[in-house]
Subunit: 372 residues, 2 copies
């Protein structure tokens, strides 16, 4: 006999990417930023490490809200601060989707959306992306309470233009959650749509572009009624004092953000070009990682495993439609150079060459339709 | 039209105690520890404020688990680490109670339990405490999926002996959650019951006795199958790197814990005696706060408000059975002296004297039955 709910008993649980504890890996598997956070963040944390830690934090993280509103060009009332975007995704699913309700997302995407639906005993409705990772035709599902669109998407790194997102929002009954974790690496985003569509929620995070994955700090930007309702569904003290201090300093230092994002974009171009030259089909990335297609499931698995043997971690997804692909985080120039050297070695010395060559060169051009 | 679920739309949301931002209050309203956290905690946070913040934290907080298991006399597999006890309470309700399920708790108690039930669209079943705050007869509800017992209880500060908790666990179908946030201030606790009863979950926190309310760190101790299932229902990265570093240092410094707890117990005795001498009925406290009964709802409200005018915050609960009482956190000796002086002033100078005198002296002795 189990004490657990049936839906919990049934589910497998979300598997995050490997987090080795020994630190001996070149870690290109969980889209962390290769650069350290702003020195101002470090200083702010050290300042906040004082006797005030004995006191509860401000439940609404007022000062963080104000700073975030400033950076995102909105009002504090339109911002909710969470213990990472994952906390906000949890608040969203609990606010808007109950048992039996439809939760829609394109597939393949961030796998947590499925887990969140299962946790609510809701009906997860994945809609297959077309090969070019444009918005699936069937994404507007009648009666869907929540539709998640990671934009830019993971693992593909591709983006849906704001114009198409607008059209989608107009067609929908429920809320449309735009998970913009990677937006700072993209040429466009959907932040301003919040003013126009009462059912659009945009998520941002300090994990990627601000180099603070270890801190857990995310934002939901939406209209005030949505934010007010979501406050009821959050843990009272979901964000701690140190994270608040760090967030304020991080948001305040836009110079460091811009410099780090520029560095990543430059390395991304180099990485994408190099993989293309090696014969892989590479999806045009608007994020801090690059997704590329191998010739087969076997090849993708082999490459991932052989890199792991060489202490280089990249991400392989053992799921339909993505299992012949690999996702590599944009590290430092040195890390990416090291990764590419090892990849070339593996292909050359270990006889994978034929398998990784893209067999469908003609298809490749048609694989992605949006211009950037 | 609302996008929210009906149960979310209906609910009022949990109201945490006031957290003034200007710091000009003597703050005895939210049971924070008056002493600073261990200097080792401060050092550990400063050490952890480094470039590793760019990396995700360990999803299972392995080192914290190990340290906590050590302190709690159990194995790491029996411990789950949360972003405060509130995070663990959320994980518990999502794991064990679905819509329409019964969620039971004695009343009055920590008001979040009701909110948690409402968030799940479950049926909140409060069972009135008898006047002596012993275990209510009707607390074992047939079919209850989750039963919460804050032990020591808030706002009463009273404790249910482990023997009675054992008997309850044996009678129950569902899980029994013992929220031991205040256990370090008590003469006994129920930690060892976890080994005996597969349906007992014990919660601990660093917020109160370790002076780290601002940090958000809690523990659930239960049998391994329970912990494994709950891991599926938690956010992957629910605890951040700084909190982990701080937690390890805090657990490691049992000297500071003992010294601070001893100080609070001493001041608690002084506070309880002083209030008794002034004529209030004072519940025997096993926690870091003291709950005392005024002669009337009017008197309790007046006292709370007049203290607030003097920049002293204590907690008033505008709910049945507790609305003629006040809860005051055990602060430093100086803070409690200041509180008592002002309370005497208010009673003397503002003519509340008659109203606050306990009218039912004879009843008082019968109000609490357990010996300590």
């Amino acid at each position: 006999m189990s004490y657990f709910r049936d839906n919990i008993e049934r589910m497998a649980g979300y598997q995050p990417g490997e987090q080795p504890k020994d630190g001996k890996y070149v870690k290109l598997n969980t889209n962390e930023n290769p650069y350290p956070p702003s020195p101002k963040v470090i200083d702010a944390i050290k300042d906040a490490a004082n006797s005030n830690l004995r006191l509860y934090p401000d439940p609404l993280a007022t000062y963080v809200r104000e700073n975030a509103a400033n950076v995102f060009g909105t009002k504090p009332e339109n911002v909710l601060v969470g213990n990472g975007s994952d906390d906000l995704l949890t608040i969203i699913i609990r606010s808007f989707a109950g048992p039996g309700d439809k939760v829609v997302y394109p597939y393949p995407t961030y796998m947590l959306y499925k887990t969140l639906a299962e946790l609510q005993d809701a009906i997860a409705c994945p809609i297959d992306f077309p090969d070019d990772y444009s918005l699936p035709n069937g994404i507007s599902v009648k009666g869907a309470k929540v539709t998640f669109v990671a934009n830019p998407n993971s693992p593909s790194g591709t983006i849906i233009p704001a114009g198409e997102i607008s059209k989608l929002a107009e067609k929908m009954d429920g809320v449309l959650v735009l998970d913009e974790a990677y937006a700072d690496f993209a040429d466009s985003n959907c932040l301003t749509l919040v003013d126009k569509y009462p059912n659009i929620l945009v998520l941002r995070t300090l994990s990627k572009s601000y180099s603070l994955a270890g801190l857990r700090l995310g934002f939901c930007i939406a209209n005030e009624a949505i934010i007010q309702g979501m406050i009821k569904a959050k843990d009272s003290y979901n964000v701690d004092r140190l994270s608040m201090a760090a967030a304020i300093a991080a948001l305040d230092d836009q110079e460091t953000l811009k410099r780090n994002v520029a560095g990543i974009k430059e390395t991304r171009a180099f990485l994408s070009n190099s993989l293309s030259e090696m014969g892989f089909f590479v999806y045009p990335s608007q994020s801090n990682f690059v997704f590329f297609r191998c010739s087969s499931v076997f090849a993708a698995r082999q490459i991932m495993q052989k890199l792991k043997n060489r202490k280089i971690l990249i991400r392989y997804f053992d799921i339909p439609k993505a299992d012949d692909c690999l996702r590599v985080t944009v590290g430092t120039k040195e890390e990416i150079g090291y990764f590419l050297d090892n990849l070339r070695d593996i292909i050359k010395e270990e006889g994978l060459s034929k398998q990784v060559a893209v067999k469908r060169k003609k298809e490749a051009a048609a694989l992605y339709k949006y211009e950037h």
